[in-house]
Amino acid sequence: MATVTLTPKKVPSLRLEADNITPDVFAGKSAAEIAGLHVFTGNTQELLGDYFTVAGSAGATAAETSIVIDGDASRVKYIGMKMSAGDILVKGNADMYVGAWMLGGKITVKGSIDAFAGTGMTGGEIIVDGDAGNYLGAAYRGDWRGMQGGLIRVGGNAGSDIGTFMRGGEIIIGGNTDVHVGTHQEGGRIVVKGDCKSKVGGQMVEGEIIVFGDIEVMMPGFQYRNDVDLEVDGSEATFALYEGDVGERHPKRKGDVVFGKLYLKY
């Protein structure tokens, strides 16, 4: 595994679009070649090397390439966008679109991230120690295919619109969330260790939402079924199982209507 270290040396005047910061693009390149990759500030094309000191060199493939951003990237967008393998470690914060449309590999952020992380992702892992913004693991606008695979784990809180149109994979939030969790969800699993405000599972077709804390206001389309004991992310507990959203359409499988499942811890 070869490591490329990017050390921030200049704060972008606006925000930096750096969709080239992925193991896939870096693979096979020297530090000088990586420093010569394009980044954008608005309509202006600049070089990655204008904003970061580049050390080390990439592996032959994405899978053999590690990227470390040794500092704050809170004004850098698109880190790890569309990456298929390898890993990225951000030692500070990161801006929007971390791991958007990600296919594989792993992104770790020690700080917090802004919105749209994991948009439309189909595989790989995004691990965030701090907080996440809105639209975590959601679909791109208009798409009915949101997060379809992979894992997103957030240590802190998350914003609103988590897992909108989610179809697969898993999102685990250590803290609380804002409104709208799993709206239009049609697969996959969302776990919230803390509290959710409201609008949880609205228009949900299938999939699972597990909440350890409270939901301030339940959706009227969820109906209590029974109690179940579950082991979730290493802890065992008894949950009340609700099914819904009964207002939404639902497929039938083996003659039975399949609903979304909302587990609420006692």
Partner: protein, 437 residues
């Protein structure tokens, strides 16, 4: 002596009434009176006649003193701040014609700008919901001719779209609706009592911020499934009853406004209401329509739609169009310090944006193109007054149901004044020179 101009289109709200009559002096220079318009629409025409109207561009120095400049100087300043910027914001576009919007878009293409319209603080959430679930809708004449169920949700047309109820929704007698109001049942969903809710057969005084839950509850009720005792403060009995009223109509429509597009849940409120409308089409015929505000906000979404594929919040900075509200929307960009010049035409963000955003505009190179003195013109470095579209120049505008109507020129603008389109064409020529395009 006076002459009467008929079939005049009102350039105020998205209702775009086109039956106004305006009497003007024989020389075509002065408006004498306005007929058929609501109070707001009439004022729009009469205001253009104000004696203290600004007729020349003016620039503001650091101490806030204004100095008249020529249109040429205004073109130069505007072109320069746009050409110099890395990410200029070109905002507004809702109170102008489609021709100006198209020229403005070319300026945005050449300079790599953000193009955003007033939907960003209004029905942009509706546009997002439409992208998620679609929208079954119709033209307003369909409502006149067929509708026997009308729902007003989070809107108060009696005040915001004053002629809507008489022209299109509650009162008119149409082809299949010869009894007019008597053939229609009216449901109003609004936390407040309004002049609209007074007319309702059912007024659901919903708990604020619970619209998403209420519309979800309607969908549950259509299916005959069980509901909690109350949802959003409304007893379940009422919900079942109103659900049945909606299902039993022959042709129904939900009109909705800013009361729900910008309150908690935003696009999801509209998404849920569209889903309700979809469901209702399994029982009878239903449509849903946003009560668009500015008279041509709809048109700017159409122009950008056909040129670049998105109805608002377009980011052209990388040489092609991208779109993602939350990232490419004006207030997010201002709040996050992502733009370095501001151009406003046909809107008043100074009055409608959060104070934090307005402060950001104040700190940037900025131009406001507007016939009026507004809170926006007050915070911009350059104010360019222009002719009133729909009064002093014509052009295309799109009604709230997307029907395009050609606005009429009623009188001449004050001598020497440019229209939006003329000013923008000069700016386009100049930015092309500056950018070597």
């Amino acid at each position: 002596m006076a002459k009467l101009v008929t079939d005049v289109v009102c350039p105020f709200c998205g209702t775009l009434c086109d039956d106004l009559e305006v009497s003007v002096t024989d020389d075509g220079k002065k408006i004498l009176d306005v007929y058929n318009a609501c109070a707001i629409g009439a004022e729009k025409f009469l205001h253009s006649q104000a004696s203290d109207r600004i007729t020349r561009p003016r620039m503001q120095d650091e101490d806030g003193n204004w100095k008249d400049v020529s249109y040429d100087e205004a073109v130069e300043y505007t072109a320069k701040i746009l050409a110099d910027a890395k990410k200029p914001l070109m905002y507004g576009w809702s109170s102008t014609n489609c021709e100006s919007q198209a020229v403005g878009t070319q300026i945005g293409e050449v300079t790599g700008a953000i193009m955003d319209n007033t939907a960003t603080v209004c029905h942009g959430t509706t546009l997002i919901a439409v992208q998620d679930v679609g929208i079954p809708s119709c033209t307003l004449g369909e409502v006149v001719n067929r509708a026997d169920r009308i729902v007003f949700w989070g809107c108060n047309p009696a005040h915001a779209h004053p002629r809507h109820m008489s022209r299109y929704s509650i009162y008119p007698r149409g082809f299949f609706t010869g009894k007019g109001q008597k053939s229609r049942k009216l449901v109003v969903i609004d936390p407040r009592c309004t002049d609209t809710s007074k007319l309702a057969d059912y007024h659901l005084q919903i708990e604020q911020g619970r619209d998403y839950e209420l519309f979800d509850a309607f969908r549950v009720a259509f299916k005959g499934e069980k509901l909690p005792d109350t949802v959003a403060g409304i007893p379940k009995k009422t919900i079942y009853e109103v659900a049945e009223t909606m299902k039993s109509g022959r042709f129904g429509i939900i009109f909705f406004g800013m009361g729900v597009t910008q309150s908690l849940s935003k696009n999801h409120n509209i998404d849920a209401a569209i889903s309700v409308t979809r469901d209702l089409n399994d029982y009878s015929k239903w449509s849903i329509m946003p009560m668009r505000g500015h008279y041509n906000v709809t048109g700017s979404g159409e122009v950008w739609g056909w040129l670049h594929g998105f109805p608002f919040a377009l980011d052209l900075s990388r040489g092609f169009a991208r779109y993602n509200p939350g990232d490419t929307t004006s207030n997010d960009l201002l709040r996050r310090d992502e733009v370095d010049a501001v151009f406003v035409l046909g809107s008043d963000p100074g009055a409608h944006f959060p104070f934090g955003s307005v402060k950001k505009i104040w700190g940037l190179p900025s131009v406001c193109i507007d016939p009026h003195i507004t809170p926006t013109s007050a915070v911009c470095k350059l104010h360019v007054p222009v002719a009133f579209v729909g009064v002093e120049t014509g052009g295309c505008a799109y009604r709230m149901d997307n029907v395009p109507i050609e606005c009429r020129k009623v009188v001449e603008p004050p001598e020497g004044m440019l229209t939006d389109e003329e000013f923008l064409k000069k700016v386009l020529t100049r930015v092309k020179e500056l950018k070597g395009a």
